[in-house]
């Protein structure tokens, strides 16, 4: 492509009809505050769902008629839910990053990929920490005062373990793909 053609192409691009658009200060403030509210609401929703698990487990411990195993399992599940609330606050949804120094697109892109990778890598821990409590509750169903048939807790544990292994494998796959993208971005920084 000759310099003339290049220039012609750029002129065509810059000459395309685009609507004149401008927002009033009141509109900008309203939209910015709506945006912040959405982010806060999303973070709150994550926290509330874990809080509900914690409350249900706590109520089960206090009022339940289950044996010791179910109670200990419940305590572990409450601890897991509280830890998850803390993690949700730490890694909660971020707002669009304009930052104090307007980071470059590459920096923003890389940080978001790193964050996604870290979240995917944390899945085995996030989900894994609930396993002891869950297993104890399931065992408690068979061994406790109500003495359910052992096939019920065994199938609960089986399904949970299957999901867990699938999540771990999928998380590692995603993290690997994101790591390759992060490396490619690092190479672009020179």
């Amino acid at each position: 492509m000759s310099t003339h053609e290049e220039q012609q192409l750029r002129e065509i691009w810059k000459g395309q009809a685009v609507p004149g658009f401008r927002m009033a200060p009141e509109q900008l403030r309203a939209r910015a505050s709506r945006f912040e509210t959405e982010i806060r609401r999303r973070n709150l929703r994550d926290g509330v769902s874990f809080a509900l698990i914690a409350i249900i487990a706590a109520v089960g411990i206090v009022t339940g008629t289950g044996g010791v195993l179910i109670r200990v399992g419940g305590v572990l599940m409450v601890a897991w839910a509280l830890l998850s609330i803390y993690w949700a606050r730490l890694y909660g949804a971020m707002s669009v990053e304009t930052g104090a120094d307007a980071p470059t697109l590459l920096q923003v892109h890389r940080r978001q990929l790193e964050r996604q990778r870290d979240i995917a890598l944390s899945w085995p821990w996030g989900l894994g920490l609930v396993i002891p409590g869950f297993v104890l509750v399931c065992l408690g169903m068979s061994l406790g005062p109500r003495r359910l048939d052992w096939t019920v807790p065994a199938s609960f544990i089986g399904v949970f373990m299957f999901v867990y292994v699938a999540v771990v494998i999928y998380g590692r796959m995603l993290a690997g793909r994101w790591q390759r993208e992060i490396d490619a971005l690092r190479a672009l920084e020179g």
Binding site: E97, T98, A102
Partner: protein, 191 residues
């Protein structure tokens, strides 16, 4: 009746007036940015989003991001670099959020260059078709590559593109070289 100490009242008035001044300067910067860079921002939105209603949403997102960013603008870089960084970040974020819904597979300039051509090159005399084809080409690309082409079309040099995107100047030069080759294959003079 509540009594407020005069010093406390003065301090609070000072804070109010500082906030007022900051808001005013934020609004002024936004107004001047839109006057100078309104059209490139609209072209950016048009290149990123084909759907008209989503394009309007994107344009609003860009304007809000820009206005918010001016609260922290202290001449860390040129106003032009700042505006392009914020606008392109907002656009890339918009694409990331909507990509999940559309399940698009985005390519790099290199991937696109390796693809065989299945149609004739567009002649430059049909301006509407050229803009449409350029838009379609840009929308196939990953954010960084998209922005290299867009900034190149906005007549930015390699150093400025590097400053906006954070890619090393060598890599920008390489990508521009590939962009030119790609454009050469897809567009030709209408003479």
């Amino acid at each position: 009746m509540r009594l407020i100490a005069p010093q406390t009242r003065d301090r609070s008035l000072e804070q109010d007036s500082a906030t007022q001044r900051q808001r005013q300067s934020q609004d002024d910067l936004y107004t001047s940015a839109v006057a100078t860079f309104g059209a490139p921002m609209a072209r950016l939105a048009a290149a990123y989003e084909l759907d008209r209603s989503l394009r309007q949403d994107l344009l609003q997102d860009i304007h809000v991001a820009l206005w918010r960013s001016f609260a922290t603008f202290r001449n860390q870089c040129s106003l032009r670099t700042w505006i392009y960084r914020v606008a392109h970040n907002a656009a890339a974020d918009f694409v990331r959020r909507h990509k999940r819904l559309r399940r698009e597979v985005l390519m790099s300039i290199e991937d696109l260059e390796a693809l065989p051509e299945d149609s004739d090159a567009e002649r430059l005399h049909d301006e509407a078709a050229v803009v449409e084809k350029l838009g379609a080409l840009i929308r196939q690309l990953k954010p960084i590559d998209r922005d290299v082409i867009l900034l190149y079309l906005e007549e930015m040099d390699a150093a400025s593109i590097s400053e906006v995107l954070g890619i090393s100047p060598d890599n920008v030069a390489q990508k521009i070289h590939r962009t030119k080759k790609l454009l050469n294959r897809r567009f030709r003079s209408g003479d």
